[in-house]
Symmetry: D2
Subunit: 344 residues, 4 copies
């Protein structure tokens, strides 16, 4: 690798996605963040919005068009909100590589998109150009891609749990999928659901059976040979800041021994750098801040339980995006991502 | 009702069960706590262990035998730990009513008890005398009972979710049961699982498929006509202090419309004082401190989701025990339990 | 006392002040809440805004004028926001008693009010009618009053710490006052300072030396004979929901022995129902949900430390207001306030 | 710098000090951790105790003597508990450099040590060999030192606040010092003070006026020319995991303008890499996980307020220790410490 640093731009760098991209990319050995856009804070140092970056970087926000942001850069991240991202990403020159963190380009079918998000897609003709960026399963397609749609946080955890079973042809019974998220998944804008006095001791489900990540999960299970998988997904809010936890409870038609299940997961993840098979149920506190996804499975013969924990902002968003960036730019996949998290 | 106050004793009053019993009973209009036992703190005012009770009561702990504790009282609560409780409760005179908060007398079958708790029961001959104290379903048996085994916190929430379906004969498909508990469920003794630096942002499963409340749940479902119910239970720890949340995901053989399901729950709980049917997913923060169990259900036709939230120390333990006490002493079932909780 | 229940109205009942007033007053043995106003939610049951009150009360919000709200009632609480409260309270008929929870009528001097709050007072001629409702020190003036301005939460804790010293003439050196508040003090509206992802692990000062409760504190110290007290006040936000904690560090000109200091506090609070002198530093978790203020003092001869913990929404707001209501309506001062809080 | 990596050993690597040393040193470009000792877990991979380090390092704990641990290494960190550390550190060969994280070698005077810690020091003759490792003020002594006593977390924050004033000769009035710590300061062993159900919403003072870091603070203020400083220190526990916050309230004899104060701090910290002067009160959530100390000051002319926030485990312990290690080994002071923390 030459000492040349690849040049990166970030669209919409004031939210938590932008904050985490900066945290990792400012210390990435092979890239340089040359631009961070913000409509609301043009000209201001990024530390005015992200106070932990004072004395870490001199970078300032710029209010420039997507086309201008992409000038002279190797890869653009869009950390713009769902719905807004497509308007910017569609305008990026084809010559510039791009990774979209939003939900805008994950679903292949514009009709499904409309059903899920409640409005027409603005660039349906571009949907086909996007590779679904679940790194561990789509590496070969991601590396040469010019456009990557980064998976949703729940979808990442759910697919890491279920795809090995789909590939093994064992996803034939009903799948109960219970997800739990920390409050940072709601983004940087205060809202009633993240009001500290009411969130600090709250645990509650939301959007039971109708969360927008479910079609994403089903689309990818279908591609993996399990189009008939019956997945019921119920997400919950827990009173923590970071973390996604998935509990999958499966009732396969044929009994699956624990040894069989473990060997399925071992064959997929034994050599993975960022997926860890644990001997005990995983804990979101152990992966917080890091790009690791921890997985554990149990079986009593007829019922199978798969547990996954990851950091929604890292492995569930920015960390996975940087894995993808590394692949797309010909860098080592793990570059800049070794941080083990802070525990406690 | 006469102005005579029923006399109550509490065995093992230094833990959270004791603390909550005192919180409610000291302000109960019809009873008087005359004795609170502790082996470790004899003679000390209860506020030395429960500092919030300073200037609330002059009561002191006593180190007396169960027999002595029961002298002259109408009803004894045992808030002793699992395993230890049976040794004391078995010695109580038959003439004194008793409610055991531990898991010692919930299972009818000593063989199941041994399997679940890993040791022989010390008073297997007494198991048959105990009524399972799930108030909303066992009132008629509880009122005349001399011995009540108070249900476990997870079991209470799970059974409130599932028993109406069992009675309706619709519990014929696999049931995925995901439970979540706050840290107070671990009791008043510090342990590694409740060490604040590691618990404050933790979410993790424990005892997947093998939690000791599952046999209790199955026993009661069986009694309700669903002996074949296939229940998989995975409990989790969440970083909150109080609360049990149950997410039940069911795949019934025959599709169940949302209207049907709602009418099933309405017929059971419409007139209940402490079970509330909500229009939105329940939140443990909303029931914390109170004796309410909040329930909500969803269905997309083929999959059914039932959500229950309650306070593990109140409706899941002490509050339900006081409902039972009220019934056993001929008092209004809700007496002393109206407190709506503190929110936020 | 007759069985007649006093009739109470609450102006602005949708915030945390309204919520807590309902929590206490709905179970108060001598009063009845007959009206709760809200401009935004007219006609809706109060449980739509305060979900913990479902099945607790049938009361609905009304959008009525202050004059209409006051019709036929014995006492009106205003839980309206600072600044807005004065517009409603000024219109209340003189014949109806009123307690204002806001900061609008606490300061006697309209010029000080303008300096502190940045705008002219709308009813400066009424300021003189208000008694400062610090119950333990102003009972004799509160009982016959028709108008009471309820103290601020920080001011309540600070004055409970300092007034005994002021009366003893020992407040002659510099006083460093460090306050800490939970997030519920920010009210029910989401804002950036209470956004869970950023508040959950935050500790920070705000408004150092210029918080609006300081003039209130100084006004009352002055009335207690310490007009020259040099008080520096620095409030902080801590990642908890409920609680005010005050640490007062004093350097009196004459050395004060611990015995002297203790006897000063004992003479003031030994017989108080809601102020508890503790042998150890107080803990906000121990008073949360209750009307208790816990106090502890230390001295090494030359430096004196006084620590106070209370619940900002109870003893620092609604609980103290109900103490005052009880006095104004001729009821026992502690009626309806015995709840010891929930711990843990 | 050559590509040779300096060799490091850690004594007592199972606690939070060990965990944080590993987090930083495993990614430090110029050093290699060759040994991590543990009496309890010999032979086990470090990830069995520090689960976040699975797939991060293959290192295993060793149960070796201090002398053996020091063989062939360039520098030894002792992360052993207070009191136990001195027994191991005294046995290290003089030829090996060492940094002690405990309180054992911070106080120069064995008599003061005995008063503070309640027992005789085991190696009083070695006390004189230790340099007090407050990096920003003692660099010139630290760089050539063979023994460094790393400052306490509260002492670090307090001294960063006060030493510039001491050097400026303005520390002539009473100083009220209020400290706040997160729960990780209590270490990795569960205890009643860190029991989640009771700590999660607690705020309370402890050891008012008698905390063991005060003599350390006074010793260093004295060395900086302020032997007569009258410092009263009251530490508190807050319900967060990481963080130290110091609020210093000073009443200098001569009025100090805000400009004067700011210029004092600017001259000390303007060019410091890890001390940041902020325009607003600092927040522990903003420095959590990082080696930064954030500082802000206010003055109303007669009263001066200085606020400092840092991470107790990083700038208050391990991060500062690595700054010192870098100096002692001739490495860039900031090497391996650039991590900006995770926010939110």
């Amino acid at each position: 690798m030459s000492s040349y640093r690849k040049r990166i731009a970030i669209l919409g760098a004031t939210g938590y996605g932008g904050s985490e991209l900066l945290r990792f990319l400012l210390f990435h050995p092979n890239v340089e963040v040359v631009r961070a856009t913000s409509r609301q804070h043009p000209g201001k140092p990024v530390h005015t919005v992200h106070p932990h970056l004072l004395k870490v970087t001199e970078l300032c926000f710029e209010d420039v068009s997507p086309e201008e942001a992409a000038e002279g850069v190797d890869l653009v991240f869009s950390a713009l909100p769902h719905g807004a991202s497509q308007d910017s990403v569609r305008r990026l020159p084809a010559s510039v590589k791009a990774i979209d963190l939003s939900g805008d380009f994950r679903l292949k079918d514009p009709a499904v998109y409309r059903d899920v998000y409640g409005h027409e897609h603005n660039a349906p003709e571009q949907l086909g150009q996007f590779v679904y960026g679940l790194t561990e399963f789509n590496r070969r397609a991601i590396a040469p891609a010019r456009r990557v749609a980064n998976p949703g946080c729940f979808a990442t955890a759910a697919l890491l749990a279920l795809l090995p079973l789909a590939h093994a042809g064992t996803l034939d019974g009903p799948v109960a999928l219970v997800g739990v998220t920390g409050s940072s998944g709601s983004g940087a804008e205060p809202k009633s659901g993240t009001h500290h006095p009411e969130r600090a001791e709250a645990f509650r489900a939301y959007k039971p059976l109708v969360h927008q990540h479910l079609p994403e999960i089903c689309q990818e299970l279908s591609r993996a040979g399990a189009p008939e998988a019956r997945v019921a997904f119920v997400p919950h809010s827990a009173p923590m800041v970071r973390g996604i936890h998935i509990t999958a409870i499966l009732h396969p038609k044929e009994p699956l021994s624990l040894e069989t299940v473990r060997s399925i997961y071992h064959s997929h993840y034994g050599d993975e750098r960022f997926v860890r098979l644990r001997n005990e149920p995983p804990d979101v506190a152990v992966v917080a801040g890091s790009n690791f996804a921890d997985l554990h499975c149990r079986s009593d013969g007829r019922t199978l339980v798969v547990l996954v924990a990851l950091d929604n902002l890292v492995k569930g968003m920015v960390g996975q995006a940087i894995q993808n960036m590394n692949l797309m730019l010909g860098l080592p996949e793990h570059a800049g991502l070794q941080f083990p998290g802070t525990r406690p």
